[in-house]
Symmetry: C2
Subunit: 237 residues, 2 copies
Amino acid sequence: MPVEMMIRKLRLHSELPNENIEALRSIVTPVKNMPEDSVIVREGDLSTQCCVIMSGFAYRSKVSETGKRQILSFHIAGDMPDLQGLPLKLMDHDLTTLSPAQVGFINHEALERVLVSRPALARALWRETLVDASLFRQWIVNLGTRSAAGRMAYLIAELRQRLGAMGLVANEQFDFPITQSKLADALGLSVVHVNRVLQTFRAEGVLDLRRSVVTLGDLEKIIELGGFEALEDDSAM
Amino acid sequence: MPVEMMIRKLRLHSELPNENIEALRSIVTPVKNMPEDSVIVREGDLSTQCCVIMSGFAYRSKVSETGKRQILSFHIAGDMPDLQGLPLKLMDHDLTTLSPAQVGFINHEALERVLVSRPALARALWRETLVDASLFRQWIVNLGTRSAAGRMAYLIAELRQRLGAMGLVANEQFDFPITQSKLADALGLSVVHVNRVLQTFRAEGVLDLRRSVVTLGDLEKIIELGGFEALEDDSAM
DNA sequence: CGATATATTGACAGGAGTCAAAGAGGGTGG
DNA sequence: CCACCCTCTTTGACTCCTGTCAATATATCG
């Protein structure tokens, strides 16, 4: 029941009565299976629906005028990566699948009708977009203050944390089907340097990222390198 | 009438009937004059109010575990830089005045009461937080894809655009009372290198940032260096 | 007019980019 | 089942952008 992921995630920060959950569930379209590298929405599009990642991965990206692509964030099961399109409509970045993915869609008009009488649900969705913004802020810190190895470690630590919250980490190992070239675009590094960092990590037993799977070797070290602090739990909604 | 700035800004992306505007205006507290470097909210705080910059500048920042400070964004008259604290409460970063500033406050409880019966206003505020998120995304692109000079140029171009929208740019010149050390923290560069970039800009007549004032020399060049594209206008709310 | 913060310089080091070529892996079609 | 192709990964050599350190000059302010 893949929609549950989305609900699970919303409930991480918002209390939602079942009635709201049901209303939301009822307007999610049947899941669509998308191959990797499928564009879900493109910069400049006007959103008419938003999507829910049911399984697999997606990423958001933007190309700067110099032609370089910057990956802004990665998304996992439960995420609604273009929710901000509900109030804002005009997409300012692309959203693409990173792996084969199951994606559900929610029509904006249907969602608006549901929200009219359910302010708590509207608020939960607002929060969801703000948690998203908070991750962007942390990403800015990551890019602005850390070395190549630190950035990489941070990315892995963040992913582990988010995947963990969704129950997708087992035996300190998780799926992450990404190429080094995309890692480079996310971290603001060159492919060559990404490769160098990954090899150092392997050699030192920090972690091993290979063939779509990340194996965490020395979690302490990763957290130290990435300066990652576990998110506080959500006592303060 | 400094509150007008906030209204002007909200109306950049949302249509708001006067009735909503009045409701909002009525709960803004009298302006408080704050000296430079005053902390408005601190990471870890629970928000009970949000602020409106009436005049002057503020910035948001976060310190990474390595002790380095990253400045996330600068804020100008009309901005509500901690609006996200309304739904999210727990601050994940600091908010500080950059210059002496006039700041108004809006109590959360009062605001919630106003919002209950005004979904359009709630939506406008949601949008406001999303525009904010959109700027963070652009900042990620800036840090991830551009060289030192490019980042600096982008910052100036962005500021010029935002200050311009508020009517705060005259004769290709505007106020921006910042030290090179803070610029460094924003751009993810060292102070020394910031200095070098600024000198090159002066020498080449690109721009002159000195004693709290930015003078734009060659706007074309700035936009080219910073790869800045004017924001589309807001036809797509 | 000191005292402190900020800006500027110069010399040097090093992390990360670039270029170019060689391996590996994974599909695909014959 | 193997050859071929294409993408992805890995290496090595070299460059250069940006950081670091340390000293000096300039502002600013009480």
